[in-house]
């Protein structure tokens, strides 16, 4: 009996060793493209063209980053992307906070129908509505401005949904007490609800920032001048300028790409726990 159990324990240990070995291998495979991006960004052109690629640079070519910045107005792209992403946070977050408050704690006629229209928006991708919005932006002279990049994305159905869930789970008694003390809606929302739901609000802000930073389709359509390009469209342009001969310059494209994703990777590393739990809880519960 005792021997049996010990044999079982030994088996268990073997299984968990095997499991972690397999898990590490899988993790390394999935991490590989990021590693390849980083390592290619600091290789010399000659080294990117070896018949048998090297896993560690023979010689570090830090100049690739400067070269990428000389070829395209990289700082401008970076700034544009930052302005657009922060603008999206400010607008989307406030619009979503107000709406989430109304739908979670308010009462008005047609509330359910209106909330249905908010949720239905999740099913309409931006590729379905971009033509009339483009025409509208063109008519009011907003093409190639930050307005066209930010304002049409003012309402995020996902954000409203996420915040409404968070607000709904908060106790009404505190709000009632504040109301009796004469607090208005704005102070209840911003001084009471927002701090109480702070993790969700911050996570949503981070998610808006990331999706703004990574957006491509919208900036591609709404801007067509050099000084308004964002990182994604700018790097696509950098690559287009050498299309056909890219294999000569992948080290430069990779260097530009490393600079473009570094803020996101940094934010992700810091916020990972919150982001993962927000994602896991954002489904149908």
């Amino acid at each position: 009996m005792k021997d049996n159990r010990m044999a079982g324990d030994a088996n268990q240990r073997w299984i968990s060793v095997l499991r972690i070995v397999l898990a590490v291998v899988v993790t390394l495979i999935i991490f590989f493209p990021v590693y390849w991006l980083l390592i290619s960004a600091v290789k010399t052109q000659a080294e990117t063209r070896l018949p048998i690629p090297t896993f560690w640079p023979q010689e570090f070519s830090w100049g690739n980053f400067g070269e990428a910045m000389r070829r395209v107005p990289f700082t401008r792209y970076f700034l544009n992307t930052f302005i657009m992403s922060v603008g999206l946070i400010i607008l989307q977050l406030n619009v979503a906070l107000l709406a989430a408050y109304a739908f979670a704690k308010g009462r008005f006629w047609g509330m359910n129908v209106m909330f249905f229209f908010v949720l239905a928006a999740l099913m309409i991708p931006e590729q379905v509505i971009f033509v009339p919005v483009y025409v509208l932006m063109s008519d009011i002279g907003w093409l190639n401005t930050f307005w066209a990049l930010i304002v049409p994305h003012g309402a995020s159905a996902f954000g409203i949904f996420l915040l409404r869930q968070a607000f709904k789970s908060l106790n009404n008694d505190v709000l009632e007490a504040a109301r009796i003390d004469g607090a208005g809606r704005f102070s209840i929302l911003y001084k009471l609800l927002v701090p109480m739901a702070a993790p969700t609000v911050i996570t949503l802000g981070v998610l808006i920032f990331i999706s703004g930073w990574n957006s491509y389709f919208w900036p591609l359509i709404m801007t067509n001048v050099e000084h308004m390009r964002v990182l994604t469209t700018g790097i696509a342009m950098l690559r287009d300028s050498i299309r056909g001969d890219e294999h000569l310059n992948f080290h430069i494209i990779m260097a530009a790409s490393v600079m473009a994703i570094s803020p996101i990777v940094l934010i992700y590393s810091v916020m990972q726990k919150h982001i993962v739990s927000a994602m896991a809880n954002s489904t149908f519960k």
Partner: protein, 314 residues
Amino acid sequence: MANVNKAKAASPGTAASVRRWGSYATLEKWKDFLFALPALAFLGVFLYYPLVNTIYISFTDWNMVRPDKELVGFKNYNWLFTNEDFYQSLQVTFLYTIMDVVLTLGFGLLLALLFNVSSKVYAFMRGVIFMPYYISMVIASMVFLWIYNGSYGFLNAVVGYFGIAPHDWLINPATVLPALVGVSLWKGVGFAMILFISGIRSIPVEYYEAAAIDGASRFHSFRYITLPLLSPMTLFLLITTFIASMQVFQSIHVMTNGGPLGASNAIVYWIYNMAFEQFRIGRASALIMIFFVIILVLTLLQWIVSRKKVHYEG
């Protein structure tokens, strides 16, 4: 909760709350509505109105080169339905989508089973696997463009090691779609894994304990407890991944431009190309409407099926 409210309402000194929550004043309702108004206005102006407008444009011959447009009935739709490119585009999109959905969900579930361990090391590895989800599709496409490169790409070095001749993965009609699916799979598999793990963890442990007492094997527990109770999560992932895959655009725009010979000319890429390269707004809008109806029908269909088949916990 309802009882508590009643008790409060009955107690003296809370007359104000009775007035507010008992018969909520008209003015208060208007104020609540005003808070929802900005969101509704944005959705109206930038989503629902453009949607209706796109339907209208799809019945016109609008060409961005000319200022005027005329109603032409179903001409754009007829043009599409009698065009071979349309059926090729549909085929490409569905083939891509099915590959992407099956692989993302399949590998997502396998990874969930492998990585569902509560320890710091596993949490760190889960974080690494989920990270590509937040790397922009454009950058991911650039990296894979480099890995797939016919002359100096890493993939050719790997297959060369196994004695296979180098390949132009993105220029061959047979490999271009799997190559594009690879990028999407790399980005999406971590997301599927995280959601599956969250689904598995919400299954009560007692079920497994009861099954173990009855002598069920690990496989039987998985087959008869985990899988059925995961079905709501599976359905959610199926729908969201399906709709996202159908919209494939960025990787195609960066990596293949719809080529070779239309072998990666998925619907959204074709829409973009028609509208902004050929300026055929009317035709593009007709294609948009067909695309939208497909997404809508599939979403509704999946929901109807799910109501009958999906096991929801009571």
